[in-house]
Amino acid sequence: MLKNISLLISSFLFSLLFFQKQIGLNYLLFAVLATLLLIVFNFNKFKDKNIWFFAASFLVSSLMVFIYHSSLALISSVIAFLILLGALTEIKSSLYVKLINGFYSAIAAGFTHYYNQLTNESIKVKKRDINYLYWLKMIGIPTIVILVFTILYRSANPYFDELLRKIDFSFINLQWILFTLMAYFLLLNIISPLAIQPTTKLDLETGNLLKKDQIKKQSITTIIQENQLGIVLLVLLNLLILFYLVTDIIYLSNIKGVNASGLSKTVHEGIYALIISIVFAIIIILYFFRGSLNFYKKNKPLKTLTVFWIALNTILILVTAYKNQLYVSHYGFTYKRIGVFVYLILTLIGLVSTYIKINAKYNLWYLCRKNLSIGFVILIMSSLINWDLLITHYNTKMAKNIDVKYLINLSDNNTFLLMDYYQKHTLDFEIQRKIDIKHEQYLTKLKGNSWQELIYDNLKNNPKYAYENN
């Protein structure tokens, strides 16, 4: 009973917050409401501190949706919410299993609960089969007959026809009713999250360590041959990457003037080379250390060469990061250049985890689990940053050359900063006009926001930007 009342009230609140509204304050309020519902209906599970970490991730990223109103914050928040739901089904499962379980819970848990109820013996005994044919006759036949007679009477009597034409159901907002029903369905799904049993069971049974008895057995000749092949291959690859690094460093030390197109080419080519080499590096390492070679007593040279290769790849990352930084200091930040830094960080993490995997004899699942967990943390952390504002701030204050058109095309988050920049500098007339238009449009948008759509900019102290209820 309490469950149904809570769900009904929450569905009405959901409709009040979201029906025909844009994302804003409503999303943050929904996050609080959903978290409260989860706590109430899964109280025991919230005794685990790890659940609070996922709940906090969800709430913080939802707060960022309100403050920055960015797509990244919204995506992070949705992912954090699904992971929170998945964590409630089984806290010990891997992050990707949590995500799948959370997704499944959000879209179909209600149906599964209903199915489980049907299979419950006590209910089955009490419940009688519904006679669909009977109900079809009881509803269908009278409706058809009434319909036919009504059409006949309308043709026969113009007053009756006129009367029927005046019937107006427009006071019923069916869209709102459907929306509320959908909200009820969503909330019903999320309050009792469900795990996908086969996947979760398999995940819980799979540890991180490579076990000698679980790997495919190879003959000693094959192991020796693989070890030799690995050594030859890694010696050559190490020499190759070493040669590449030397030429790259010589090139960088000889750079005198920074040419945009030239540097862009080298940075991006460096990145493409890096992507391919790192992916190959990880695949090759994983291939050689997939099974028996991990336990081969004479694998020390191969391990040393692998570690050396990982180290050289790390240097390659640092060199590329330096090139990117050189580019950024001259031409400022763009999303693509930030993307390069993010990719470099992720690659570095991938290399470190591969090193740990080999050193501690972990399996492939370990790599997936650790890297995805780190990826999730980076995603949540990156949602805490107002990227458009950061790019605009850096480019207008630090960069030697500014591409104002690029800054104008960013989201509304940099509008006030751009306006400030425009008031302090002399700009091209066309650029001034574009900044003015952007500023005016943003102010109009802010003023038009209903209370559900409020964002942080509405609440700023400046009366010019303050929320005005229309």
């Binding site: 669909y132 107006d168 427009s170 459907l178």
Partner: protein
């Protein structure tokens, strides 16, 4: 099996027609008297679609059934993946049609009908399940 398919399709057609009628009345304004005809026309179309959908996407799972792999086991093993795949395909199609209101309505109804259809199709028969 044929009766089971027809019976489940009839239920699915009833549900989807009801949802379609409510959705159309909700979207189209003002409501015309002839809107009463919608369920009767749509039920024929949705019945045909339901039969096809059940035969193509649900019946293959029923073939896996044997003495140890009951309806319940099939449901618990495959329904989650079916639901995830169906939802993802419907969402992608909605995005593909530029979030058009009509397609949102159609694919939402398809999803909301497909899920109970699984339940009806794999509802454990009392006799067999009680024996278990």
């Amino acid at each position: 099996m044929l009766m089971k398919i027809i019976k489940t399709s009839a239920k699915a057609a009833l549900l989807s027609s009801a949802l379609l009628t409510i959705a159309v009345i909700g979207i189209v304004n003002p409501i015309n008297f002839y809107f009463i005809l919608i369920p009767f026309v749509s039920i024929i179309i949705t019945f045909i679609i339901s039969v096809l959908m059940i035969v193509v996407t649900i019946v293959p799972f029923d073939i896996l059934k044997n003495k140890s792999f009951t309806n319940k086991a099939i449901f618990n093993t495959y329904f989650p993946f079916y639901a995830i795949s169906f939802f993802t395909i419907c969402s992608l199609l909605i995005i593909n049609f530029n979030l058009d209101e009509f397609y949102i309505m159609v694919f939402s109804i398809a999803y909301l009908t497909a899920m109970p259809t699984w339940i009806w199709f794999f509802k454990p028969s009392k006799k067999i399940e009680n024996e278990k």
